[in-house]
């Protein structure tokens, strides 16, 4: 297909979308077996039977905000494609975006407004309930709990809460928890002087030193990073970027590294400092203060990393190549000293700058100069639970997040939820939180929605990524913004004056209109309607030129200190599933069926155990084990994983739903239940400090995998099971 052609040709077609989508659904196709053939009652001008219509929109499967182009035929969304002009993803998509259509057309979606217990109500009643809540509840008792997307809703809710005098909305999600965005921002403030999540320009890098950042999977803006990774490897003729990953469990990102160093959990900060010191030594300069405090040999021993490898990396970084970047992420931020660890790692960039290397870190300029609402920290969440328990929260609105599933059990959110007199959920699916809600007023899925996302990370320019509906709503759902605005109208008075929007689209158009004045965007238009049409046609607004500038890094004083760990036998790494991420889309069957990149496991939760550890514990593949942390316990099947430290096990997030639909329900386990209370200096969860014990259950639960169960280890040479066992025994006996 011609994507360039389409965007030009379909300008007018897209302009009239608002009114026209209503008739789109009654189309027909040649798939007689599946779809009834019917003529249009009123054929939209742009919709020809059998011809594709493409709509530009934005992905909301994660908060990154990649641009999409959705192919529709006769009112049905057929395929999600990347928006080739979008500065973030430039035409590419991840697996989650691809499977988004299965969320849109999911048979298990909420089909209409309900009250608790499942009784259907009309939207009028639902809006009345919201209006009453806004009117009758004391403002300080109103809490909005929102996910990380979409930004337009967060901003609208922010305006409403401001008008009401209520506390601002809390944005949270499990993915944000393991990304520890606030920690990163806090560390960035210390190093770069800007409190925001930095973007690491790995596309230009000759050497990337990543400490636990799974930037090719789910981290912050994975498609943008993957794009940059491809460019780093083979994008520059004659120059191939090299990549070093330091993490206890080989993630898919780590698996792509030239060098993977399984440092002992908790020592990553020290490794960074040691690396800095070695670099300084290679460069022949005196190591700045934080680096000087460590002895590389000692650190290497403590981290169980060969010193010689660190030296080689340092020498390569200083002597052989020009552009080097170090980035922290993932589990290394999840210790109580996470902020300090992140600072130590980021400080490497400062050191490299001192050694004359160019900075490869920049901050994405917020679209329209307005920072999106920052995600809440774990600490704030704990405060919220306290307030709920104390009965201070009178009305809780939940959108875009599934707290009963996503929050660690130990927080007690479920019990606290019972103490809130009015809970309104806007979830599109009947998720785990819905049974606790007094009203369930389902929102559209994003492919039926209006909105925008202010791209926060990954883009080198201001990007306001726009959503538009690509199909009419499949079910009797309603945009949450519309529901809130209708309720505001109903409440009337000062509130309605302060929040004067008729509907969601009007609110968005007002925000978008701010960009009409700008002359550095990719398009200009004099008339607001034309501008709006162009906005929809392009799938957002962004500047023509890259405006981000390299951030100057300092070398701050850091005391990394020691990471604290719970009691237990093995370190636990809880990582976002590379395909399912936090599991919000776990009911999309093709996400379940897409094999995990490293283990090729599908449809279930596995525990990665090092072969030696497994042998010691008498564990084999598919053995069911009980994983016990001080805060909870789950069952999962063993996957003997060659890329993990022997003292560590790892479990992916994303499964273990008890609701959400037929494909997600009662499948696997949710490792978030194992996490505890600890927080780091920035208030983010110290999820890395959990240690667990593993107990064999004596049963097998076979994991569905794409690989076969023989012959994939080593060079693929088959070994009969008993022979392998013999060798393992040999290994263990020599160790003893």
């Amino acid at each position: 297909m011609s994507r360039e052609g389409l965007t030009r040709r379909d300008v007018l077609k897209l302009a009239g979308v608002g009114g026209a989508v209503a008739a789109v659904l009654s189309g027909c196709g040649p798939m007689a077996k599946y779809v009834r053939r019917r003529p249009y009652v009123e054929q939209p001008e742009y919709a020809l039977p059998g011809k594709s219509v493409y709509f530009a929109t934005t992905c909301r499967e994660c908060p990154a905000g990649c641009g999409l182009v959705v192919r529709t035929v006769e009112g049905r969304a057929i395929k999600v494609e990347g928006n080739p002009n979008h500065p973030l993803n430039r035409g590419s998509t991840c697996a989650r975006a691809q499977a988004a259509l299965q969320g849109l057309y999911n048979p298990d979606r909420a089909r209409g407004p309900k009250v608790r217990g499942g009784k259907a109500i009309t939207w009028e009643e639902g809006i009345d309930a919201v209006a009453r809540a806004l009117q009758d509840t004391p403002p300080e008792g109103i809490v909005f709990l929102l996910g990380l997307a979409p930004d337009h809703l967060a901003e609208l809710v922010y305006e409403i809460t401001q008008a009401l005098g209520a506390p601002p909305p809390i944005r949270f999600g499990a993915l944000a928890m393991v990304e520890a965005r606030q920690t990163l921002a806090a560390a960035a403030e210390a190093v770069f002087g800007q409190k925001a999540v930095p973007t690491f320009d790995i596309a230009k890098a000759d050497l990337v030193i990543s400490f636990g950042a799974n930037f090719l999977e789910t981290w912050l803006s994975p498609v943008a990073y993957a794009k940059a990774y491809g460019a780093m490897r083979q994008g520059h003729p004659g120059r191939r970027g090299v990549f070093v990953q330091i993490e206890p469990r080989m993630s898919m990102t780590g698996a792509n590294a030239d060098l993977w160093l399984p440092a002992k959990p908790g020592t990553e900060g020290l490794v960074a400092l040691a690396l800095g010191r070695l670099m300084a030594e290679v460069a022949g300069v005196e190591a700045p203060e934080p680096f000087a405090q460590v002895d590389p040999a000692q650190v290497a021993q403590a981290a169980e990393v060969p010193l010689e490898k660190l030296e080689k990396v340092a020498r390569y970084a200083v002597q052989d190549v020009e552009r080097v970047v170090a980035l922290p992420g993932g589990v290394v931020l999840g210790y109580e000293n996470g902020v300090e660890v992140a600072q130590a790692i980021l400080a490497l960039n400062g050191l490299l700058e001192r050694l004359g290397k160019p900075s490869l870190v920049y901050f994405t300029p917020p679209a329209g100069g307005r920072e999106p609402l920052a995600p809440a920290t774990y600490k704030e969440l704990m405060d919220l639970v306290d307030r709920m328990n104390a009965g201070q929260v009178k009305a809780l609105f939940i959108h875009g997040v599934n707290p009963v599933y996503e929050f660690p059990k130990v927080l007690g959110f479920e019990e606290a939820l019972l103490k809130v007199p009015l809970v309104i959920s806007f979830a599109s699916f009947d998720d785990e939180t819905v049974p606790y809600a007094h009203y369930h007023l389902p929102d559209h899925t994003f492919l039926e929605s209006w909105g925008y996302q202010r791209v926060q990370v990954g883009a080198d320019r201001e990007v306001l990524s726009g959503f538009q509906p690509v199909v009419v709503p499949v079910f009797d759902t309603r945009a949450t913004a519309d529901v809130l605005l209708a309720a505001v109208q109903k409440v009337g008075g000062a509130l309605a004056e302060q929040v004067p929007y008729k509907n969601e689209v009007e609110f968005i158009q007002k925000q978008v209109a701010e960009f009409q004045k700008r002359n550095d965007g990719i398009y200009q238009a004099a008339h607001p309607k034309v501008f709006w049409a162009l906005f929809l046609q392009h799938g957002g607004w962004w500047t023509q030129e890259a405006t981000a500038t390299p951030a100057q890094a300092q070398v701050p004083t850091v005391q990394v200190g020691e990471a604290k760990f719970d009691r237990g036998e093995l370190h636990l790494v809880v990582f976002p599933h590379p395909i399912l991420a936090d599991g919000a889309s776990a009911n999309n069957p093709w996400l379940q069926e897409t094999p995990d990149p490293t283990t090729t496991v599908m449809w279930n939760t596995w525990v990665e155990v090092h072969p030696e550890t497994a042998a010691q514990m008498g564990l084999e593949n598919d053995d069911l084990v009980l994983i016990d942390s001080p805060y909870g316990a789950i069952f999962a099947s063993v996957y003997v994983y060659p890329g993990i430290r022997p003292d560590t096990i790892a479990i992916p997030m994303g499964q273990g739903h008890t609701a959400l639909g037929r494909w997600a329900k009662n499948r696997g386990a949710n490792p978030i239940d194992l996490l505890g209370f600890g927080v780091n200096g920035a208030g983010d969860a110290a999820f890395g400090q959990v240690r667990v014990t593993v107990r064999k259950m004596g049963r097998r639960q076979v994991l569905a995998r794409k690989e076969n169960t023989v012959g994939v280890y080593g060079d693929g040479r088959y070994q009969p099971v008993d022979k392998r066992k013999e060798e393992e025994e040999k290994v263990t006996s020599t160790q003893e």
Binding site: E707, N708, V710, G711, V712, G716, R717, Y718, P720
Partner: protein, 477 residues
């Protein structure tokens, strides 16, 4: 007519000796043999009826019921999976094709070589050919994902402008099996006509009507005999290469594939030897059943027959071993990585029990037992040997079909195969179908070719015609 004259006492030992060398020297009159055969045929005892009802029911349930279930639900009911796309159905297919070689081998080859001892049991063996082939012919249909489209393999003019792909081994299979099925059925039927005429003359009621139709008005005129014997000669010569071609082509299904473990130049003779091995073994088992369950059969089917079959079995087993050794030693010696993996999988992997079962049943046990003449002459021993060798040959096909598929050039996609209940049920169902058809046939058609036996009686007598001496019956030209 040869009447039974009492022999002088001093000749008894001599006659006994003669019987050992030339079977059925203790001739009985044609009337008596007719009576004996008809008696055996018309013996529809209660036990037989129960057995047939049971076998029929079991067949309907386990074969046709399971097949209908498979067809309506999908091939997923079988145990096959990526990368083993062929399983028990193809195993059974090759197995039954192998069994079907017995009749032709015993009847046609022994006829061509004028081996006299064959006469009483040629028909029993030919029946096996036809029924085994029918069973085998079911499997290509069963194993199709869309059985109801099987006719696309038939070359017939159609509106689609499409014909079968004559370059596909499966089309060769289709033609070879059909040729063989038609040929062997006609080859069964032609010598049957005089016996059906005999049955027509000696039966009453519905049987008379049936045999009147089946015997096609046979009278035994000189013309009829001339054409019939000529045709039988042609058939005996023609069916042998067809038989060889059938199993060769079945082996080519594997040998032409770009699949290590299959792509072997020795597969043609290897498969044929294996087929004859299993076929002859099956003849032994079936003859034992015929001899013990039917009346008067001890006269026709004698320890000498089992003795000869035993010798054949031993020789063929050695031949098979020779090819087996060739197949493995050469591939192993060549040392290609994947081939080594396949052989390692055979001998040590999950399939190893089946592989060793094959070696034990096809080599060790026959060699150990069949050297002994006394064992060979015991019908029940040969019955057991027949079963054991057939178990071994089933295992051989299982190893070749599913074992080689389990290992390929991409270790990521290795796998192994477990037959599912539906597959086992269908495979079992063909055994009961075979027994059912055979049981029914044994009561519907004369199982002993009486005219051929009588012909054998006369075979060695020379007649003086005028001044010349000629053999009396056509066969000994």
């Amino acid at each position: 007519m040869h009447s039974e004259t009492p022999l002088p006492a001093e000749l008894h030992g001599q006659v006994e000796e003669l019987r050992k060398e030339h079977l059925l020297i203790d001739v009985r009159p044609r009337e008596e043999m007719n009576r004996m055969v008809l008696e055996a045929m018309e013996d529809t005892s209660r036990e037989w009826k129960w057995a047939m009802a049971f076998l029929g029911l079991v067949t309907v349930v386990t074969l046709f019921g399971a097949w209908a279930y498979l067809m309506s639900t999908g091939m997923g009911l079988a145990g096959i999976r990526r990368p083993i796309f062929w399983g028990l159905f193809i195993v059974s297919f090759v197995f039954w094709i192998g069994i079907s070689h017995a009749g032709t081998f015993v009847s046609a080859i022994l006829r061509v070589f004028k081996a006299e001892f064959r006469r009483p049991f040629t028909r029993a063996a030919e029946l096996m050919t036809t029924f085994a082939l029918m069973g085998a012919g079911l499997y290509p249909l069963i194993h199709l994902g869309r059985t109801w489209r099987f006719y696309w393999m038939v070359p017939y003019p159609n509106q689609r402008w499409l014909w079968p792909n004559f370059r596909s081994p499966l089309v060769w299979d289709f033609f070879a099996i059909n040729t063989y099925l038609i040929g062997s059925t006609l080859y069964l039927y032609l010598p049957l006509i005089p016996d059906l005429a005999m049955a027509r003359d000696k039966s009453t009621g519905w049987r008379k009507k049936l045999y009147t139709i089946l015997s096609l008005g046979w009278r035994g005129t000189e013309e009829e005999w001339r054409h019939l014997t000529k045709a039988i000669q042609i058939f005996a010569w023609a069916i042998i290469p067809v038989m060889f071609s059938v199993h060769t082509i079945v082996s080519w299904d594997f040998a032409v594939a770009m699949k290590l473990g299959w792509h072997s130049t020795i597969f043609g003779p290897y498969f044929i030897t294996g087929a004859i091995l299993s076929g002859i073994a099956a003849v032994g088992s079936v003859l034992y059943l015929v001899r013990t369950t039917m009346k008067n059969m001890t006269y026709f089917i004698r320890p000498e027959h089992f003795d000869t079959l035993g010798k054949l079995l031993l020789i063929i087993s050695m031949g098979w071993t020779y090819f087996f050794f060739n197949e493995f030693i050469l591939e192993w010696y060549g040392g290609e990585h994947t081939v080594k993996e396949i052989i390692r999988f055979y001998t040590q992997g999950d399939i190893a029990p089946v592989w060793w079962l094959m070696v034990i049943c096809n080599i060790f046990i026959p060699w150990a037992v069949l050297w002994n003449r006394n064992w060979r002459r015991k019908p029940w021993v040969m019955f057991l040997m027949g079963l054991i060798v057939n178990v071994g040959m089933y295992a051989e096909r299982y190893v070749i079909v599913t074992g080689a598929l389990s290992r390929n050039r991409i270790p990521f996609d290795w796998g192994w195969y477990q037959p599912s209940l539906v597959e086992i049920s269908i495979a079992f169902g063909t055994f009961t179908l075979f027994l059912f058809m055979y049981g029914m046939a044994s009561r519907l058609i004369p199982l002993i070719p009486v005219w051929e036996v009588e012909e054998g009686h006369h075979a060695h007598s020379l007649r003086k015609v005028g001044k010349t001496v000629v053999p009396s019956v056509a066969d000994l030209e």
